[in-house]
């Protein structure tokens, strides 16, 4: 057989390259597709289910392909800003926390889908409306909450005679004092992470009755007796119960400390137990989950609502809207939730007793916590000023300052100065 000459090779290579360059363009022209941006899930089967089951099923039913574009955890806000600024990119996106409010006028009104889903699937939790309804219109379809709750070591708590998780912050403090003395301190993030610091600091502030700004979005009310009481509690909680390193922690730190058996209690998403079950089964056996403790003004949780939104400027927005309606129907949604076990807590009451909650009954407090969950900065309206206060870690740093010895009055004063600066400029 004659071996191919160099010239033949070049010809083949050029033809191949031209073909490769032409093929995707031809592919796009031949069939329509919708692109959905998502952050890589902490639960791999959740992404796999979308890619291997949901996307092919939609294509088979409608002939429209679905591209599931994954981006790393924490990078979606930057990606969404870029898509909005350049007007090109994905058609549907995952969006969370305050971002639907920041970008509301670039997101399609999807009230029809939300109302239909609410009617057919048992109605929405109030928290879903708090997270996605803007000026009376749904700008995103809430998919799930990633709750931040208490994770505690049952074996070490038992050593100090505690069998059920303490119901109030003061009771938790008493337990923590005993556990720290036994070299099993608590580990609650007080640094510049994102979820695990806000996950307990806002609920603590609220449960003592403190707020940053009134619901009118104008009056800064952080300087109150309630805030002072929350700070005083946090100071002793830090000093007598906590591991010093928490001041410099970011979000992965408490997971690392948990698996290293350094801490006996922390505030985290469900995933900490899921990860332990996979990789540290002995630790998983002695891990339990509970709702945040109560304060004098009640029990609170942080709302981290993961929603799907359609970009209003997308040339494919009608297709994207159809796809989102399909995805939000019970048949698709229910199975998708199942694949994520209960890491994603549904906002529709139809799933309150779904089989996914039986996979790991220790997760059930995450479902129950949704009734008392609010967005960061609640009850102030979620807007740019609030987002700025959160991005500047005003509240987190106020607590961290108090914990490291700044007088309560001074810590509050500096937070107030910052908040007044932010709220005046907008």
């Amino acid at each position: 057989m004659k071996s191919a000459s160099r010239r033949d090779f070049l010809k083949i290579a050029v033809a191949g390259a031209a073909g490769a360059a032409w093929a995707p363009a031809a592919g796009r022209a031949a069939s329509k597709s919708v692109t959905m941006l998502h952050e890589t899930s902490f639960i791999p089967p959740f992404d796999e289910y979308f890619q291997k089951t949901l996307a092919p099923a939609y294509e088979k039913e409608t002939g429209v392909g679905v591209v599931y574009e994954l981006t790393s955890v924490g990078s979606s806000p930057t990606r969404i800003s870029t898509i909005i600024e350049t007007g090109s990119g994905a058609d549907v996106t995952i969006i969370f926390l305050l971002y639907p409010f920041l970008y509301a006028d670039k997101l399609m009104d999807v009230s029809d889908i939300a109302e239909e889903a609410g009617k057919q699937q048992g109605g929405w939790y109030d928290a879903a409306k708090e997270a996605a309804v803007i000026d009376g219109k749904w700008r995103a379809i809430p998919h799930s909450n990633i709750g931040q709750l208490m994770n505690w070591r049952t074996d070490w708590f038992a050593e100090v005679g505690v069998k059920t998780f303490p119901g109030t912050w003061e009771e938790l403090y008493e337990v923590g004092k005993k556990l720290k003395a036994k070299d099993h301190p608590f580990g609650f993030e007080l640094g510049h992470g994102f979820g695990d610091n806000h996950g307990w600091i806002y609920p603590l502030l609220w449960s003592y009755g403190g707020h940053e700004v009134e619901a009118d979005g104008k009056t800064v009310v952080i300087d109150s007796d309630e805030t002072a009481k929350a700070l005083d509690f946090a100071r002793k909680f830090f000093k007598d119960c906590m591991f010093d390193d928490v001041l410099g922690w970011t979000d992965p730190s408490n997971n690392k400390a948990w698996m290293a058996e350094q801490i006996s209690c922390t505030n985290n998403a469900e995933s900490i137990l899921w990860f332990a079950k996979r990789n540290f089964p002995d630790i998983a056996k002695v891990t339990d989950q509970a709702q945040n403790p109560q304060g004098p003004k009640g029990r609170f949780h942080l709302l981290d609502c993961q929603s799907h939104a359609v970009f209003d400027f997308s040339p494919q927005k009608e297709e994207a809207h159809k796809f989102l309606r399909w995805l939000t129907a019970e048949k698709q949604l229910g199975a998708w939730y199942e694949s994520g076990e209960s890491y994603y807590q549904p906002f529709l009451h139809a799933y309150d007793n779904a089989p996914m909650w039986q996979v790991e009954p220790r997760n059930i407090p995450y479902r129950d916590a949704m009734a008392t969950a609010h967005l960061p900065g609640w009850p102030a309206p979620p807007d740019r000023r609030l987002a700025e206060a959160v991005a500047k870690y005003v509240i987190v740093d106020m607590f961290a300052k108090a914990c490291t010895g700044t007088a309560t009055k001074d810590a509050i004063k500096s937070a107030e100065t910052q908040l007044k600066g932010i709220y005046k400029t907008a």
Partner: protein, 310 residues
């Protein structure tokens, strides 16, 4: 036959030749401009445009997804009233000055050591570049583990030396956190200094050292009066680069502390990112980022003037 002078005359006149692109390009004035055009276009597109756009943004109340309005210097005034902004400014200066000095002294020492003859010299020189080659995000994650109170090699050593457990909280204490990021930046930037100064050292003619030795100069005097003056231009250039990179550092802080604890390690770049991307305030974020410009511009002008005079 008579001699015809007419054709000769014609020959003497310079012929009117057609325009030649090759000759035209050969002219120095033209050639230099042609050569300059591409880099200038490149600079204008990749440096000039973002800079001008950044300045325009900083003068607007521009937020993501909405058109901005011109607000003059309002964003800068907001920055000046923001206590965290001043904290960030101080942090950035402390970080840059200390890290650059450490890198300068350490890099010079490294270069002098590497300039000696020893076995496996080339291998050592190659290994020296490792911290510089490893992507910052990766090496920072490795440092995150090294500074973790439970797994820290540093703390294990300290505990071994008799310190109480669990040892200092490197990233949880404001001063230690700043110290840690300075150390990591120095570790990462040292090879750049070391290798560049090593290249400079090798250009110093050995005769100068021989002459100095014959004149009775000690090792320190040879360094002080021969090596240092000849290395000065290179030290200045490396310092200029290093200051610019360190001043605008982002990845290290973003991965390690995200500016915490309590903004103790927040730098201009990370603070600007949080405001611009976290809060969607592009105008305000740009104004924070632009505050790096005057300090850097002053430094560049000062160093350039100094080098020209030298």
């Amino acid at each position: 036959m008579s001699i015809r002078s007419e054709p000769l005359l014609r020959v003497a006149l310079p012929p009117r030749r057609a325009f030649s692109l090759a000759l035209w390009l050969d002219r120095e004035a033209v050639f230099s401009w042609v050569m300059m055009t591409l880099p200038m276009l490149f600079l204008a597109a990749l440096v000039g445009y973002p800079l001008v756009y950044g300045i325009l943004l900083s003068l607007q109340d521009r937020v993501v997804s909405k058109p901005g309005h011109f607000v003059g210097l309002r964003n800068f005034i907001t920055d000046f009233h923001d206590p965290i902004f001043w904290r960030v400014a101080v942090n950035t200066f402390v970080y840059t000055i200390v890290a650059t000095l450490l890198k300068m002294v350490g890099g010079l020492g490294l270069a002098l050591a590497m300039n000696q003859h020893f076995r496996m010299k080339n291998l050592m020189r190659a290994l020296l570049l490792l911290p510089f080659i490893v992507p910052t995000v990766l090496s920072t994650v490795a440092w995150m583990w090294m500074l973790d109170p439970a797994f820290s090699v540093v703390n294990r050593v300290l505990i071994g030396l008799g310190m109480r457990t669990p040892g200092p909280s490197w990233l949880g204490t404001p001063i230690l956190a700043m110290f840690s990021i300075i150390m990591i930046n120095t570790w990462r930037g040292l090879p750049f200094y070391g290798i560049t100064l090593l290249a400079g050292l090798q250009t110093v003619p050995p005769e100068l050292y021989e002459a100095a030795t014959i004149d009775g100069a000690s090792g320190w005097q040879r360094f002080r009066f021969v090596t240092l003056p000849l290395l000065k231009p290179i030290i200045l250039i490396v310092t200029l680069f290093s200051v610019i990179f360190t001043f605008a550092d982002f990845q290290l802080v973003y991965v390690l502390t995200h500016g915490g604890p309590q903004n103790a390690t927040n730098l201009f770049a990370t603070y600007a990112f949080d405001i611009g991307m976290g809060a969607g305030q592009l105008g305000l974020g740009a104004s924070v980022a632009l505050m790096m410009l005057p300090a850097l511009a002053l430094l560049i002008v000062a160093l350039t003037l100094y080098m020209r005079r030298a």
